[in-house]
Symmetry: C2
């Protein structure tokens, strides 16, 4: 089950070729995307996702996304979905055809959530730290590196996940050259210390997390403290819980890091998941 | 005038959508490419370009490119080309559709060479140095960063060129965090000192240049010395010539760097261009 829709609200067969070979999204990875979780026909954090799509587009100097078009397109996918209760909804915006009329390419695609992700949500994951090769000041110093944008140029993120698999791990936590913790290839890192949730600040060159923000909102309302501050690699093994969160994976606990078993975070996982779910 | 061909040697209308929205080349920048210069129906350095396509594919763990298919596809474009004497021939290989049968997407596209590039070949360019945010040891330490692969994830290269344009410059020379000179977003850096040509080594995380290799081959035969060794940012203003070379731009002299006028490299440009052309 897949549903593909365009900004005018029409749906298209997802197996029909839709994109020209000179699309700059294809030739140059020159575009942006978002992945939204939809549960029982309701998209979660759609506003923040569309805000972030606009922010990424601005970083790439793409035209400002047509917000009402995106809302129409999202509705079209949801209204035509007859699959499982949960859907991953991908929004893609590219600079369009190099030899075209300048119209951006834009579509939304509803996809089933894979068995593996559903299992990882329940059972947690193993992760390895991998160097991302940047320093935390770089994003502000060098905006042309697009650090913290959700661009279509994700070959490195995919290669890092393949590298992790070769090391026997499910996931990656990227670190900066000075040992600062960054993010996962498609997720945000959250640490727990007592009744405090901690996540690294976006200005070190990482993506501000929509799921992390939703969880922090719910946690703060329930009496947790929240901190957005630099995290060191050593902090990853000196805490009361480590989680990778993203729209599709939700709150996933990290069971082992670089081959070392971490604590049993299952009670904490249940508590944070309940907090996150209480938002919807 | 554009000509699009597939690996089976058939040609397709380049304006007809050919690519599915779930192609991983589009969704993840997960693929590789090459750009070959074709003059009077003869592709230059096709062997080295296909070698480098295979090398990039291996770095991304894509299936090994079907070499005879690529040769057939290149022939098809050239045989159907009725445009100018010179053509830019782009070869694109992606991981294929995420929900497909695992077949890679592969095509070659012949394109005219823009007026701007032709003018820059004659008149030279202005360049700015921009930090790439990596250190020279990173490529060997962290293969998952795909440094030195010609992947489709080129959003940063395009953003750097836009940043240069805002600074009033035509081109970019990327530098490493320790001041080592890397490469242009789509070109190789060559320095001249007396009768010696110098270019940085590929193992610092840059693409080995096909045009640079052809020029060095011709130069060595004509009595020049050639060196492949680290270049410092300060070397860019302390030399007898600075050039950016690539298949489509050929040998282009750098007239100014970071707003500072460099020497007049036009005689040297003529000499190096004649050397390079003597290869064909």
């Amino acid at each position: 089950m897949r549903v593909l829709a365009l900004l005018d609200g029409t749906t298209v067969d997802p197996e029909t070729p839709l994109v020209r070979v000179d699309d700059l999204g294809l030739l140059r990875g020159d575009g942006v995307f978002e992945t939204v979780l939809v549960v029982d026909g309701r998209p979660r954090e759609l506003g923040p996702h569309l805000d972030r799509l606009a922010r990424s587009a601005a970083m790439l100097e793409l035209p400002e996304p047509d917000r009402s078009g995106w809302e129409r397109c999202v509705d079209a996918v949801i209204n035509n979905w007859t699959g499982d209760r949960q859907m991953a909804l991908k929004l893609v915006l590219t600079r369009g055809a190099e030899y075209g009329d300048g119209t951006p390419t834009a579509f939304a695609m509803g996809l089933p959530i894979g068995e593996k992700v559903l299992r990882q949500r329940e059972q947690g994951i193993s992760a390895v730290t991998l160097e991302r090769g940047i320093d935390p000041g770089l994003a502000e110093r060098a905006p042309w590196l697009l650090l913290g944008s959700k661009s279509l140029s994700y070959a490195v993120n995919m290669a890092a996940l393949r590298h992790a698999a070769k090391l026997g791990a499910d996931e990656v936590i990227f670190t900066a050259s000075d040992g600062t913790v960054l993010e996962g290839p498609t997720s945000t890192v959250i640490l727990v210390r007592g009744r405090t949730l901690i996540t690294p600040p976006a200005n070190i060159g990482i993506l501000p997390g929509t799921t992390q923000a939703a969880l922090f909102r719910a946690a703060e309302r329930s009496g947790w403290s929240i901190k957005v501050e630099p995290v060191r690699t050593s902090d990853l093994t000196d805490n009361d819980g480590v989680f990778l969160v993203s729209s599709v994976r939700a709150i996933t606990r990290v069971n082992s890091l670089d081959g070392q078993q971490l604590g049993d975070f299952s009670a904490l996982h249940a508590e944070l998941t309940a907090l996150y779910e209480s938002e919807y």
